[in-house]
């Protein structure tokens, strides 16, 4: 059961998402209306901390738990898929007030309506895979 550590990591994430109100439709509404610093503070401080962490990993050549090097695969250099896909996701993010982690956390919070969101997100993912060759990337 070496994989149990991922259950605990997920558990912490679910608690952080709930307690910081990242899962709240209101917080996402405020963010897209630029009326509250809360979400910008969370994402911004996560990125700044993340930049420092990744720089330290690269400079110190920190190894993973398995003794292997921590590798970062650069994203492919193109723009269409990121801009168009990102915009489509943004529309859905503002509608449900939740991104792909929080849609699951909200089910745990007792909002059974988000089971509909999860199922619909699976359909959306399937549609992308079905039409993948017709979409610009």
């Amino acid at each position: 059961m070496r994989k149990i550590k991922f259950l605990f990591a997920g558990l912490l994430l679910g608690i952080i998402f709930t307690k910081s109100e990242v899962v709240s439709w209101y917080r996402i509404y405020e963010m897209f209306k630029f009326k509250s610093f809360h979400m910008f503070g969370i994402i911004g401080s996560a990125i700044i901390t993340g930049i420092i962490i990744i720089q330290v990993i690269k400079k110190r050549r920190i190894k993973s738990i398995n003794g292997t090097s921590i590798l970062f695969t650069p994203k492919q250099i193109t723009w269409k898929r990121y801009l168009f896909g990102g915009t489509i996701f943004g529309l859905g993010w503002a509608m449900t007030g939740a991104c792909p982690g929080p849609i699951f956390t909200l089910v745990g919070n007792g909002y059974l309506s988000f089971l509909v969101v999860v199922f619909s997100a699976l359909i959306g993912t399937f549609l992308y895979g079905y039409f993948i060759k017709k979409l610009p990337h």
Binding site: G10, I47, I88, A94, F104
Partner: protein, 189 residues
């Protein structure tokens, strides 16, 4: 201490904690990205019969599904044992604006009852938000190759230009929806 945990956590605690979770996953030899679980689930459900995109070694992603089940469980624990009854501290302009859009008690609970209570599934606007929003999330994150965790947190932390483009897209979509379409959708019953 217990009381402090029950209060909403401030941004300067939550943001660095999320980054530490990203580090923990890197240290475990994995990457932080939650939307890829949707692809894995499609593959398990047999979507590979319809598209090559779903024919991959999904067993290598089992760790991420286990993580995701923790994300559900964490939500349960936080709402069951760590929540306070106090209303959310929302911006006062937003409260007035949402009341005029038909939401009676903004911030009383984590989500507006009118849109996301279980019986809202059967209302027109609830259906549009839940089904429409879900489909757009699934389609958009896969097209963009990641969501908030994969692009905004992991990608920008690694100074990836494509992730910046994706995040700009997130905001183009989110602002368009919030300013132009949400008022129309909320006016439906």
């Amino acid at each position: 201490m217990i009381e402090l945990i029950k209060e909403p956590w401030p941004w300067y605690i939550a943001g660095p904690l999320i980054a530490l979770m990203m580090f923990l996953l890197l240290f475990f030899g994995k990457n932080f990205g939650l939307s890829s679980n949707l692809r894995t689930m499609c593959s398990i459900g047999g979507a590979g019969r319809f598209s090559e995109f779903f024919r991959f070694d999904w067993k290598s992603q089992i760790w991420n599904l286990i993580l995701l089940s923790g994300v559900v469980l964490g939500g349960f624990i936080a709402s069951e044992y760590m929540s306070s009854a106090a209303p959310m501290d929302l911006n006062s302009d937003i409260i007035i604006e949402l009341q005029s859009l038909g939401i009676k008690n903004p911030g009383e609970q984590l989500l507006p009852e009118e849109l996301f209570a279980t019986d809202a599934i059967f209302s027109l606007r609830g259906m549009i938000l839940l089904v429409g929003g879900g489909v757009l999330i699934g389609f958009g994150t896969r097209w963009a190759g990641g969501c908030t965790s994969g692009h905004a947190i992991s990608g920008l932390s690694n100074l990836q230009l494509p992730s910046l483009i994706a995040v700009i897209g997130f905001f183009i979509g989110g602002i368009t929806m919030t300013y132009f379409f949400l008022p129309i959708i909320l006016s439906l019953k």
